[in-house]
């Protein structure tokens, strides 16, 4: 639904942009912009650290899903590792 709404919005903008090159860029944007299905990781309620998650869990009486990575590098908050 949201993906459709985005596509409609972008197509209307592409109609506004007079240059064919700009229209082509907007069409490419509409094709490549991730939809909700691609962004499932962003449905999760992320906490920036284990300490922050523990504090929130205690306050809201909710469990924590913790991913432990045995590596020196890794940053799941930004997604780059």
């Amino acid at each position: 639904m949201l993906r459709t709404a985005t596509a409609v919005l972008v197509l209307s903008l592409s109609a506004f942009a007079q240059s064919p090159e700009a229209s082509s860029a907007l069409e490419r944007f509409a094709k490549l912009r991730p939809g909700n299905d691609d962004l499932a990781m962003y449905r999760l309620d992320w906490a920036e650290s284990l300490a922050a998650a523990e504090k929130k869990a205690a306050a809201e009486k909710r469990p924590i899903l913790l991913v432990v990575i045995h590596a020196k590098y890794g940053d799941m908050i930004t997604g780059h590792c």
Partner: protein
Amino acid sequence: MTSWHGHRDDADIPPVVQEVWAAKFKPGSGQSSNVDACVLDAEGKLVRRWDAMAPRDGRGRGEDLRGDPLPRHWRENLKEARAALGLGEPGKPREVSLPELPEGLRSGIRVFTRLDDRGMPAYKAPVVELVPMGDEDWALLARPAKSAALDASALLPWLSKMYPGGVMERTDPDTKFAYRVTGAKGTLSLDPAGEKDGSAFALLHGRVTLTDSGGGDFAYSGELRVVVEYRDRKVTGLKGVFEGPYPRQGPKGSGGFEFDLTGVFESVMR
């Protein structure tokens, strides 16, 4: 949901991670990946732990043998954890919540990056970051009366997010943090692209070459195409893409691959 990373010889391992690793590295516990998932209760007590990767034989323990082994492996373990916590069936999924502007800031550019790494499909999942933009940043994209040249380095704050989710081979061997993109080279063109109903448009386009803090001759390039919208000469929106090949290497510099790196940019205005 959160994550923690480190090594067994670290000095400050949280107690719950010590508990997870005590089970993981117990003699005779068999092969496992370097990633574990676990569920803690609201007091932080470990309820359930599992290897984040699916068992090698791909067979689930439960009755539901449909679907891929990895999601099934996670579904089964989450189900067990829910039962241990006395929780009922899962509710409706949360809405997607993308990174938003920090309090007090009025605008930014949201950047989505994705690497089509055929060997590591997880990197196809988009990484989303939001770069705050001030008036001086938007001024660089001021509405052009005629075609204007713009140095890509001026756009480094948001172009610097154009790197893949997983870049183990581009990691500082001392700090273990991924190298940052620190250079953007190329002469871009900002061209008028028409007007309609009180809005004007410009197209920013050209080839950009990015380099990182790791130095050497590492660089990668792509084509940038961004449409900027104006009202009353003020930028009111931006949408665009970056597309180019990203070079990857195997362990210790072996091999050499190129995968499609895709970036999508959209303005966020309050």
